[in-house]
């Protein structure tokens, strides 16, 4: 894996020099890294062309990015690099229904001076539906490789942001020198979330629901106005440019769906409520609690991408003399765990054709979670469909992706052993006809994924100088994190002489650092929760004052010394 990463790095480095494109012809490559051919043939493999459609000892040919042949007796082009597929299973590349893969989280919008909280500027309110995710996409985002190596080849990537971050795009999880080259389709969705603006309107679900209705209604009016003006401007007030409203036009015309990030059942119901009132096409993404929603989903014609995130399986107490009460509570907790893991099979039974989305899930856990879902009733074919054909259909790309048929994009997974076996490993992932090879380790189960917690912690240990702005001026001081036998401790100091405060509940996972602390506000203890992202030596966070449902940004930089 290390070699691969190194290769990737070198590749990225040289890309601008050689102007890497999909058609390599007559170009020298002094590094010797680029492939000798764009034609591949994998022979003698078990080919799962589509869920339930399996071919033993088959051959598949990929030429210039497309699947050009699939079958038992296939002519292998002379230019092909032939890969022996003995013991290999080939699947269509997975399609992620909603994720941030490839997008880089932008810095939190700066709190404007003299912010008028009832009516903040759109960028601060998080109302930027006119934005395109491509502006956040970085070709060297780690998530592209992280998702690819577990089999994902296309992602519906949505932008980071607040209430209405912008429109999403379908991207190919390939290597490229420019984000444009990742794009399969743009404007695939208008992305929406229940995320309020810190300390400004709309601050929470209440404001978001109302604001959404207001924006939608005005977009409808604005659209009529523009059309009227376009048909004959004479005597009509000229419509002012309104990019927010304009961003809704394709939704109003039902050329574009609203993708709502609705992780829990109440959020899902709220999104469906808006759909019922306003009539747009709705897709729910990241749904984690869907077991009570089958009827509503069907009656509103809502499309669904179920989350691949699962709760951890509860561990029951091993104490032998535990009380009946504890036993009963553990049973109920397990009953609910089961609801999470069996809901996929249940929704399938209810006739809901869902895809999968990874937005809240960790790439390293996707396969484990998938296998858990299969253990709990979803068949392998159904799971594969949710990863491929269903997603392709829901995203409107069935003609070009989702199965291993001639003419489709060369997106496929080559797995040593059935992908759905716990110990199987992915050997190749082809994206857009390009081969990505992975080390396959022999022997027992390969531990993939997370770096160990200790290594992880290193990234934050030390002193961070923070800063945040209050009406009384800028507050500064430092957070100091220490590690005592793998348990994080932290202290907050303040430059203005306020006594040091101990940081509580420190958690650092996947680059997200959160903790909380209490301060004395006139005799009343107030808890403040800080959640943010560590990027190298920078920490961008939001602090929320739980008791008051109020948030403000905090920035910190790590002290190099």
């Amino acid at each position: 894996m290390k070699i691969l990463r190194k290769t990737l790095f070198r590749l990225l480095f040289i890309l601008p020099l050689i102007g890497f494109t999909s058609n390599i012809k007559a170009q020298s490559d002094p590094t010797g890294e680029s492939p000798a051919t764009r034609t591949y043939a994998i022979t003698n493999a078990t080919i799962v062309q589509a869920p339930g459609k399996l071919m033993e000892e088959g051959t598949i040919v990929i030429t210039d990015g497309l699947i050009t042949a699939v079958g038992k007796n296939v002519n292998i082009p002379v230019t092909a690099e032939v890969i022996d597929g003995t013991d290999m299973f080939i699947y269509p590349g997975f399609i992620d229904g909603m994720s941030n893969t490839g997008a880089e989280r932008p810095a939190n919008p700066e709190r404007p001076d003299n912010l008028f909280t009832p009516d903040p500027p759109n960028y601060y309110a998080g109302i930027t539906p006119e934005n395109q995710v491509i502006d956040q996409i970085k070709v060297d985002e780690n998530s592209i490789e992280a998702m690819r190596k577990v089999g994902f080849t296309i992602s519906h990537t949505v932008p980071y942001g607040r209430m209405l971050p912008g429109s999403g795009a379908l991207i190919l999880l390939r290597d490229a020198d420019h984000p444009d080259k990742l794009i399969l389709t743009e404007g695939s969705s208008l992305y929406s979330q229940f995320s309020g603006a810190p300390g400004a309107y709309p601050g929470n679900t209440l404001g978001i629901m109302a604001k959404f209705r207001n924006l939608y209604k005005n977009a409808e009016l604005s659209k009529s106005h523009s059309e009227l003006y376009a048909s004959n401007p004479e005597g009509i007030t000229r419509p002012t440019r309104d990019r927010v409203s304009e961003a809704f036009y394709p939704v109003i015309e039902k050329r574009q769906s609203i993708f709502y990030n609705a992780s829990n059942s109440l959020e899902a119901r709220r999104a469906m409520r808006l759909q019922k009132e306003l009539g747009f096409n709705l897709v729910l993404g990241n749904l984690q609690e869907g077991w009570d929603l089958a009827n509503e989903i069907k009656s509103t014609n809502t499309k669904v991408f179920m989350s691949l995130e699962l709760p951890k399986e509860p561990k029951n107490s091993k104490e032998e003399d535990k009380s009946d009460e504890v036993k009963r509570l553990e049973e109920r907790r397990m009953e609910f765990y089961k609801k999470y893991v069996t809901q996929y099979a249940e929704l399938q039974k209810a006739g809901i054709k869902f895809g999968f989305s990874s937005i809240d899930a960790r790439s390293s856990q996707l396969k484990d979670n998938l296998l858990t879902i299969i253990e709990n009733g979803l068949s392998e074919d159904q799971a594969l469909a949710a990863l491929t054909t269903n997603s392709a259909e829901l995203l409107g790309i069935s003609k070009i992706a989702g199965t291993l048929d001639e003419g489709k994009i060369g997106n496929l997974i080559v797995s040593k052993g059935s992908y759905f076996e716990k110990k199987s490993q992915i050997k190749y992932v082809f994206v857009d006809g390009e081969k990505h090879e992975y080390d396959v380790k022999d022997g027992s189960k390969v531990k993939e994924g997370d770096e160990t917690p200790v290594a992880n912690l290193e990234a934050i240990l030390g002193t961070w100088n923070y800063e945040f702005t209050t009406p009384q001026g800028t507050q500064t001081g430092s957070f100091i994190f220490t590690n005592e036998s793998d348990i994080l401790s932290g202290t907050m100091t303040s430059s203005d002489g306020t006594p040091d405060t101990e940081l509580q509940n420190i958690s650092f996972l996947n680059g997200e650092l959160s903790f909380d602390f209490s301060i004395d506000a006139g005799g009343q203890s107030v808890d403040i929760v800080v959640v943010g992202v560590v990027d190298g030596n920078n920490y961008e966070a939001e602090a929320s004052v739980a008791a008051f449902n109020f948030t403000f940004p905090i920035q910190a930089t790590k002290d190099e010394a």
């Binding site: 509860p314 553990e330 449902n549």
Partner: protein
């Protein structure tokens, strides 16, 4: 004017049949009747009388020696809501608690176990014109918020005066920061709404096919609905002067229906309230938790009642809602209200304030079968709620009362998750303190 189609996802809710036999039936509107039966058919009270026979298949409940009363109505509650305040703006008439109803809150069951059948889920008090509230029936067990809606209940909205909204203004550096500013903001907003209505009326009456619509504002739509009497105002208030101010503002704008919430000093302007026809929904005895409630009296409800003001007693708390019958009884200690007057404070009177008294609030033929049964007189300290029915469906039965009532359980939670009750943390109306004062927060002064 109504843009929101409010019943879009309305589900069919369960309706029950039951015959409650031989109880002491406290009707509120028609006296207390001993050894009397209440027959419920399809969720409605079908008959109240003696020696009624259960029709085929209708369950009988023996209430011998027990007290049967209308389900308790809490005119001020914050249980069953995932958010309470959109406190970022001082006018948020467009937001609605109907969007954040949480049917999974175990507080609902605990309220049922206190004989409560309906609540007024209110927006918080952080803003002068807060969000719209939602009247709910406690149909516990459903995961669908729509199932809890009190279908057909009038729309209501929260206003707030005094310390909470002015504190918000101060911390955000905007108006209002005084009670003067609160009045101005109210008048300005209503005047804006009139302009808005005029603009839309002009647009609607314009016959041209080439007309251009004015900007749409859900906020102003709601304000217009208030002016037209379609949305009832429930105003968080404490001091007599601010209560008086709002009545003057409403007189000027021709708004007739008005309920003051908390209204700790309403007793000081009881004659004025009575003349205006405003009503009050008060605490039984809360006071002194902030300056504007320092000059309170537990006799508030009694003084208001004696002055002819329609008065209710509310909880504003997930704890207190469980014993509103006891809170109502305090008016007998503080002001000698009769049994019927005291019980009306938590049944018929809140129903009137919410505009649902044609459906609930008393035991009468044709009304909804929202019923609570107690083993002792409900005003007795020794009263224990036995059963609670909503639409004739039994949602609480002390004989069949499992401890763990949670509907959804987080699999990652610890089994023994202990949360200690602190009276000081206890909401009161401090839920309105949705803003933070940095001076207070970051200085140990």
């Amino acid at each position: 004017m109504l843009f929101l189609c409010t019943s879009v996802l309305q589900a069919q809710t369960k309706k029950g049949d039951v015959l409650i036999k031989n109880g002491t039936v406290i009707t509120i509107t028609d006296g207390t009747q001993e050894n009397t039966d209440v027959l419920v058919r399809n969720g409605k009270i079908d008959r109240i009388g003696k020696n009624l026979k259960a029709p085929n298949g209708v369950e009988e409940v023996d209430a011998t020696g027990k007290f049967v009363m209308p389900g308790i109505i809490d005119a001020h509650s914050h249980i069953a809501g995932t958010s309470i305040n959109e406190g970022t703006s001082q006018v948020t008439a467009e937001v609605s608690m109907e969007d954040v109803v949480d049917p999974l809150d175990v507080g609902i069951y605990r309220a049922l176990a206190g004989g409560v059948t309906s609540i007024h889920l209110m927006h918080g008090s952080a803003n002068v014109i807060g969000g719209q509230n939602e009247t709910l029936k406690l149909r516990w067990g459903s995961t669908n918020p729509e199932d809890l809606r009190f279908e057909g209940a009038p729309r209501t909205i929260k206003f707030a005066l005094g310390e909470n909204p002015t504190r918000g203004g101060r911390s955000r550096g905007i108006q209002p920061q005084s009670r003067m500013g609160v009045e101005a903001m109210l008048r300005n907003t209503f005047n804006d709404a009139i302009k808005y209505r005029d603009a839309w009326n002009a647009y609607r009456s314009n016959k041209s096919s080439r007309k251009v619509a004015p900007e749409y504002s859900l906020r102003m739509e709601t304000m217009v609905d208030i002016l037209e009497g379609e949305v009832l105002v429930h105003c968080h208030s404490y001091r007599a002067d601010e209560i008086y101010m709002l009545m003057k503002v409403f007189s000027d704008f021709g708004i007739e229906k008005l309920t003051f919430q908390h209204a700790n000093e309403a007793y000081k302007v009881a004659p004025e309230l009575a003349e205006f026809g405003a009503s009050a929904s008060v605490f039984s005895d809360w006071w002194a938790y902030k300056l504007e409630v320092y000059y309170s009296t537990a006799y508030n409800a009694a003084i208001l009642t004696e002055n002819g003001v329609t008065t209710s007693i509310n909880s504003d708390s997930g704890e207190l809602i469980r014993h509103l019958f006891h809170e109502a009884a305090k008016t007998q200690k503080y002001g000698d209200l009769s049994d019927n007057e005291a019980l009306a404070l938590i049944t018929l009177n809140p129903a009137k304030q919410l505009g649902i008294d044609n459906r609930v609030g008393s035991l009468e033929k044709g009304k909804d079968a929202d019923i609570a049964i107690f083993d002792n007189h409900p005003l007795s300290i020794y009263a224990v709620p036995q059963m609670t029915f909503v639409d004739g469906v039994k949602y609480f039965d002390i004989e069949n009362d499992a401890a763990d009532q949670r509907i959804y359980i987080d699999p990652e939670s610890t089994v023994e998750n202990v949360q200690i009750f602190h009276a000081e943390d206890h909401d009161r109306c401090m839920e309105g303190a949705n803003v933070v004062n940095f001076t207070d927060l970051f200085n140990n002064k």
